[in-house]
C-alpha cells in the first residue's frame, strides 16, 4: 500500500518535473518560435497603438480575438478579410451605436478619430496574418450570401 511519504514524493517530483518542462517549453515557444515568425517583425507602431486602444477600451469584453474574449459580438481575427477596411473604419468612427438598426445588438459609440480608427485597423490586419494552426476553421458548408 502507498504510504504518506511516497505520496508526498509523488507530489513533489511531479511538481518539479512538470514545472521545469513547462518553463522549458515556454522558453522554446517564446524565444525560438514566436520571436522568429515573420509576423512578429511586422508589429509596427500603428499595430502597437491599435493594441493599446483594444485594451484601453476592453473590446475583448464583447468581442474575441484569436478566439479569446467574450461571446456577445463577433470574432475579429479575420474581420478585415470579411468586411474590408472601409467598413471597419466606418463603424469605429461612428458617432451613434453601431448595429442599432441592423442586428439589434448595439456597440458602444466610440466615435474614434481617423488616426485611432486606422491604428485599430492596422492591429486587425496584423492579427489576420498570424499563423493560428487553422483557426478560425473554414465552415464545412458555406451558405450563399453569408460573410
Amino acid at each position: 500500500m502507498l504510504t504518506k511519504s511516497q505520496a508526498k514524493l509523488f507530489f513533489l517530483a511531479g511538481t518539479i518535473i512538470f514545472s521545469v518542462l513547462f518553463l522549458g517549453l515556454s522558453y522554446d515557444t517564446h524565444v525560438n518560435h514566436v520571436a522568429n515568425q515573420p509576423y512578429e517583425k511586422t508589429i509596427t507602431p500603428a499595430v502597437i497603438a491599435g493594441k493599446h486602444l483594444w485594451e484601453d477600451n476592453n473590446c475583448m469584453g464583447c468581442h474575441s480575438i484569436f478566439g479569446e474574449g467574450a461571446y456577445y459580438a463577433p470574432e475579429l481575427t479575420k474581420v478585415i478579410d470579411r468586411r474590408g477596411e472601409g467598413y471597419v473604419k466606418g463603424l469605429l468612427m461612428s458617432p451613434t451605436p453601431w448595429g442599432e438598426h441592423t442586428s439589434g445588438r448595439k456597440m458602444v459609440a466610440y466615435g474614434f478619430s481617423d488616426e485611432d480608427a486606422q491604428n485599430l485597423v492596422e492591429y486587425f490586419k496584423w492579427a489576420g496574418t498570424v499563423d493560428l494552426n487553422g483557426f478560425p476553421a473554414k465552415p464545412k458548408y458555406k451558405i450563399e450570401g453569408n460573410k
Binding site: E55, C59, A73
Partner: protein
C-alpha cells in the same frame, strides 16, 4: 472554534457573500442582453457588465479563500493568528481596491484583457495586499505548534497564486505573447494552484466532518494535488492551440489536459470514500452537503465538461463560443464557489455558537442553487452547440446565429432565477447564525 482570532473569518465570509450578490446582478444584465433586452447599454455596456461579473467572482472567491485560511490555519497550527489587526487592514483595503475597480469599469478605465481587467495601478495594490495576507498566514503557520500537511498545501496554493499573478502584469506588443502569458495566471490558477487551495479546504472539512484519520486523508491529498500538477501544468497547452504558438502544443496540450479530469475524479472518489468510512457523523448536514457537492460538481463541471472540448479537433470549432461559457459556469461553481460555501457552512456555527446544523432553509439553499446551476449549464450548452453548428459548421453570420439562439437565454434567465433564490436562502441562513462571539470558544 478553538482560537479567538478564527472569528476574523466571519468578516471575510460576509464580504464574499456581498460580492457574490453583486456578481449575480451583473450576470442577469448579461443574460438579458443576450436575449436582446439591453436597455442598460447606455450606462452599463456589455463589456462593463462582463468585467464586473467575472472580476467580482474572482474577488469573492479570493475573499472566501482568505477567510478559509484565517479560520483553518490557526486551528491547524494550534496558534492564534499572528496579527489580527493586519487581517482587518488587509480586508478593508482589498474591498477598497475591488470597489474602485468595479467603479472604474463603468467609466471605461481598465486593462481590457480577459479576467485581468483590473487597471494596472490597482494591480500593484492587489500585490501588496496579498503579500500582507501571506505574511500573516505564514507567520501564524510557522510560529505554530504544528505544520500539518493540510495547512501546508493550503498555504502553498495561496503563495503560488500570488506568484503566478505576476506574469500577467507584463506588457507585450504581440497579441500572441500577451495571450501566452495571460494563461500563466488564468489557467495555472484554476487548473493548478487553486486546486491546492480546494484540496486543502476539502481535506480540512473531511477530517472534521467524517472523523477519518488525518494520516489517511492527507496521504490522498498528496496524491490528488500530485495528479493536478502532473496533468494541469502541461495542460495549459489547451489554450495554446490557436493563438500563434507552435503546433506541438496541439498534442502536448491535448494529451495532458485530457488527463486533468483525473485529479477531479480522485477528489470526488476521495470525498465519497472518506464519508463512507467515517464513523463520526458530524451533525452539520449543511456543511456535509456542500463538501460532497463540491467534490462531485467540480468533477462534472471542470472534469467532464472541460474534457468535452479540450481536444484540439473539437476545440477548433468550440473555441470562443458559448460552449466555453457553459463549462466556465459549472467549473467555477462546482470547484471554487461550492468549496467556499462549504467552509462557510462548517465554520459559521463554530464562530457564532448557534448550531443551526440541519434546517429546511439550508437544504433548500443547497438544492435550489445546484439545480438552478445545472439548468443554466444546460441552457448555455444548448445555445453553444447550436452556435457551433450554425456559425462554425454551416457558416451562418455571427449575429444571425445569435438571433436564432436568443430563446435559450430566456431559459438561462429562468434557471438563474432558481439559482439566485437558492443563494438568497443561503445568505438568509448565514445571517440567522448571528455575529461571531468569544463565547463560542471550545477547548475540546
Amino acid at each position: 472554534m478553538k482560537f479567538k482570532t478564527q472569528k476574523i473569518a466571519y468578516w471575510f465570509f460576509l464580504s464574499a457573500l456581498g460580492l457574490l450578490t453583486l456578481q449575480i446582478i451583473y450576470g442577469f444584465i448579461m443574460g438579458f442582453a443576450h436575449m436582446g433586452i439591453d436597455g442598460l447599454h447606455g450606462i452599463i455596456p456589455f463589456n462593463a457588465a462582463r468585467a464586473v461579473h467575472t472580476n467580482l467572482l474572482v474577488c469573492w472567491l479570493l475573499l472566501g479563500f482568505m477567510g478559509s485560511a484565517y479560520y483553518i490555519i490557526p486551528e491547524e497550527s494550534q496558534n492564534e493568528l499572528f496579527s489580527p489587526k493586519l487581517a482587518y487592514i488587509q480586508l478593508i483595503s482589498f474591498l477598497a481596491v475591488g470597489v474602485t475597480a468595479v467603479i472604474a469599469y463603468h467609466l471605461n478605465w481598465w486593462e481590457g484583457r480577459k479576467f485581468l481587467e483590473i487597471p494596472r495601478p490597482l494591480d500593484y495594490l492587489v500585490v501588496v495586499n496579498v503579500l500582507a495576507f501571506l505574511y500573516n498566514i505564514l507567520m501564524t503557520l510557522f510560529k505554530g505548534k504544528k505544520q500539518t500537511t493540510t495547512a501546508l498545501v493550503l498555504a502553498m496554493g495561496l503563495l503560488f497564486s500570488a506568484l503566478l499573478y505576476l506574469p500577467g502584469m507584463i506588457w507585450f506588443d504581440s497579441q500572441t505573447l500577451d495571450s501566452f502569458y495571460r494563461w500563466y495566471v488564468v489557467h495555472l490558477w484554476v487548473e493548478g494552484v487553486w486546486e491546492l487551495i480546494m484540496g486543502g479546504i476539502l481535506a480540512f472539512l473531511l477530517i472534521k466532518i467524517t472523523g477519518v484519520d488525518r494520516e489517511v486523508i492527507e496521504k490522498w491529498l498528496y496524491v490528488i494535488v500530485g495528479l493536478t500538477f502532473l496533468s494541469g501544468i502541461l495542460g495549459t497547452g489547451h489554450h495554446y492551440y490557436y493563438i500563434g504558438a507552435p503546433s506541438y502544443w496541439l498534442w502536448i496540450g491535448g494529451i495532458f489536459s485530457a488527463l486533468e479530469p483525473l485529479a477531479f475524479l480522485a477528489m470526488a472518489l476521495f470525498a465519497l470514500n472518506m464519508y463512507r468510512k467515517g464513523e463520526k457523523k458530524h451533525p452539520n448536514k449543511a456543511a456535509l452537503n456542500w463538501t460532497l457537492g463540491a467534490a462531485i460538481t467540480s468533477f462534472v463541471g471542470a472534469g467532464l465538461l472541460g474534457a468535452a472540448h479540450t481536444l484540439p479537433n473539437v476545440n477548433l470549432y468550440t473555441h470562443g463560443t458559448l460552449v466555453t461559457a457553459m463549462h466556465g459556469h459549472m467549473a467555477f461553481w462546482g470547484a471554487y464557489a461550492m468549496i467556499v460555501l462549504a467552509i462557510i457552512a462548517y465554520a459559521m456555527p463554530n464562530i457564532t455558537g448557534r448550531k443551526l446544523y440541519d434546517n429546511n432553509m439550508a437544504r433548500y439553499a443547497f438544492w435550489l442553487s445546484n439545480i438552478g446551476m445545472i439548468g443554466m449549464t444546460v441552457a448555455f450548452g444548448v445555445a453553444g452547440v447550436a452556435q457551433v453548428y450554425m456559425e462554425r459548421i454551416l457558416g451562418v453570420d455571427f449575429m444571425e446565429t445569435q438571433k436564432e439562439i436568443e430563446p435559450h437565454f430566456l431559459v438561462l434567465v429562468l434557471c438563474a432565477t432558481g439559482f439566485t433564490t437558492g443563494v438568497i436562502l443561503y445568505i438568509i441562513n448565514f445571517f440567522q447564525h448571528g455575529k461571531p462571539t468569544d463565547e463560542a470558544l471550545v477547548s475540546e
